[in-house]
Amino acid sequence: MSKERPGAEILIEALVDLGVDVVFGYPGGAVLPIYDAMFKQNRIRHILVRQEGGAVHAAEGYARSTGKPGVVLVTSGPGATNAVTGITDALMDSIPIVVITGQVATTLIGTDAFQECDTVGITRHCSKHNYLVKDPNRLGDTIHEAFYLATSGRPGPVVVDLPKDVQVATGKYRKPDQISHKAYRPQVDPDPKLIEAAVEMLAAAERPILYTGGGIINSGPAASEALRELAKLTDAPITSTLMGLGAFPASGEQWLGMLGMHGTYEANLAMNQADLILALGARFDDRVTGRLDAFSPRSKKVHVDIDRSSINKTVRVDLPIVGDVGRAIAAMVAMWKQRQPRSHGLKPWWDQIGEWRARRSLEFPKSSTEIMPQLAIRRLWEATKDRAPIITTEVGQHQMWAAQHFGFEGPNKWLTSGGLGTMGYGLPAAIGAQVGNPEALVIDIAGEASILMNIQEMSTAAQYRLPVKVFILNNQYMGMVRQWQELTYSSRYAESYTEALPDFVKLAEAYGWTGLKLEKPGELDDGIAAMLAHPGPVMVDCRVAKLANCLPMIPSGAAHTDMILQANEISGEMDDEAKALV
């Protein structure tokens, strides 16, 4: 074990010891020693993407669908800077990935060498942590520590910058026994006294609601199981953020649908009228809260989060609980069972919710001539729900429609860019998810604008024979931009219409995919069936109603009670305060 070997081999040995079996990457000058070492081994598979940004999103898709960290390998300079969007995306959505970037030799650092950039400087604030490794003897420990940081506590991206001479120089490697960091100690076990207090508050509440988020998905499948049990015991209604969809089954009776800007009427009204909000691994994002001073004014708030800095960041809470949300829910379940603490039922609360549900806020206009985008999602869901598909999305209207109309029954099936809102996320994420789940049905629900942002990755899917399906809701607009322009700027559609789009069927064929075009409502079901029947990758160009809006909607800066429902006229002009909000 004490034999000296080159840094590149140490890297591979460490990755193998960490259980890595696939890396998403793109070669270049500053990582040639690593690629040569990769060539000489067969324990780690390399997926060659077409642009480094695709590699990071693929690693994210792999991580989110498998629960294992995703690994990226890119070169210095443009390789690293192309990865920055994906790294930031992973930071915002707390996705565990490790990004290994090549760097010019240590002797050249700071000389503006060819393909040099300050990778640790650039990624310092968009990664959970980063390293510049200058000594091959430190490389093995650094890689192990990087994985520990990426996957523990609040997960996130960790960047390891590896100069070329460190890849070539020799050093010693020994698999570390146990990783412990000098300063970093995430608190995973919640304080039992606080759990007790939370259970008492939950039992005393007459109008409780469980507000769940991506933390439950990140905590692992056991957290979703525990959540289902807690819901059953307490009979409380459940809503979720975009990131948390699937933690609780959409078919469950207590499910209110997603909350927030494009959430359901019942979810937002229940949040507004609740007397207790139990926030579980969710972070009171501005898309969820709407206007802060009108957010759930009469409720007590309990917030469970593994990141202390997420608590009281925007919304003051009454009971903060720091710890792993899965463990916290399990502890609440155990305590509730032991105490049987509640004497009253929640019938009045459920009656009230029933009235809100009767508004049927997700209803959408029917059309006999055009495919309504919401209908397309519903038909896609109905055609695939028995196969527990993994759904990725791009960003925009189609993403929100998918969140509203596709029912998720389990965790790790819904991969979407929530925090950063990265257009171009869905196709590479689908590729990563398909690599990690070869037997699964993986569908990217896309928009025609977003898909073009990482369209080159079609070539990756073709190379590895990954049967991903891309279902494009094509309305020729950057639909969400257009919708905001309609709402805020009296329908002045500045630059939100794409004059020249490719013929997506021919494009699919050019990449060796199958392409389908659907134009009439009558073609929808057969088109979906044809897509599913095809064993290889398929791109569906589904032409939908061009001016359909994603409703319901809480306009930026409005309260939960100020929702725009389907029937409302939305075109108009907003004041400057509203225009300044994102």
Partner: protein, 171 residues
């Protein structure tokens, strides 16, 4: 529409960190990225084996923002401990300033007299200039500099605040 600035009180934070490359950029970048104020920031290694540094940060903001700053700092991987000395209670804050004053005649005599009042030491002198060394709280140094402004102030160097809790226990 006008953008309203946030106002808040001054807090002195003491942050123990791993003494590693980039740590200062990490801390300073956190403040700029999240729009927090830095009034002063000092850093020096405080262990024999050069493994741990103490960073003293003077910042200001409303109470929730100060809480956020502390939690955001604690979240950084190389940060061991963050103490809000202003909340902690009694503590000593000191700054060191070097103040160069040039002049002749009555101005020169008055500068020396005021330096004596403020317990500033003369650490460099020429026939028409002095460099004074002064330690004290930020207010005292501000006041001294203001007075020297009328007596031929040329330039100033200040360390920023270092601070430590009073009493026998570590904060």
């Amino acid at each position: 529409m006008r953008i309203k600035p946030e106002i808040g009180e001054r807090h002195t934070l003491s942050v123990l960190v791993d003494n590693e490359a980039g740590i200062l950029a990490r801390i300073a970048g956190l403040f700029s990225a999240r729009g927090y104020n830095i009034e002063s920031l000092t850093v020096a290694d405080i262990t024999r084996d050069e493994t741990i540094s103490r960073i003293t940060i003077v910042t200001s903001g409303p109470t929730p923002v100060i809480e956020q700053i502390i939690h955001q700092l604690e979240r950084l991987v190389p940060v061991h401990k963050v103490t809000d000395l202003t909340e902690f209670g009694e503590h000593v804050e000191r700054e060191l300033a070097l103040v160069k004053v040039a002049g002749a005649g009555d101005h020169r005599i008055e500068a020396l007299r005021l330096a004596d009042v403020y317990r500033a030491r003369v650490v460099d002198a020429t026939t028409d200039s002095f460099v004074f060394e002064l330690t004290g709280g930020t207010d005292k140094i501000d006041k001294f500099i203001e007075l020297m402004g009328e007596l031929g102030l040329v330039e100033i160097a200040r360390t920023g605040v270092v601070a430590i809790a009073r009493g026998r226990e570590a904060a």
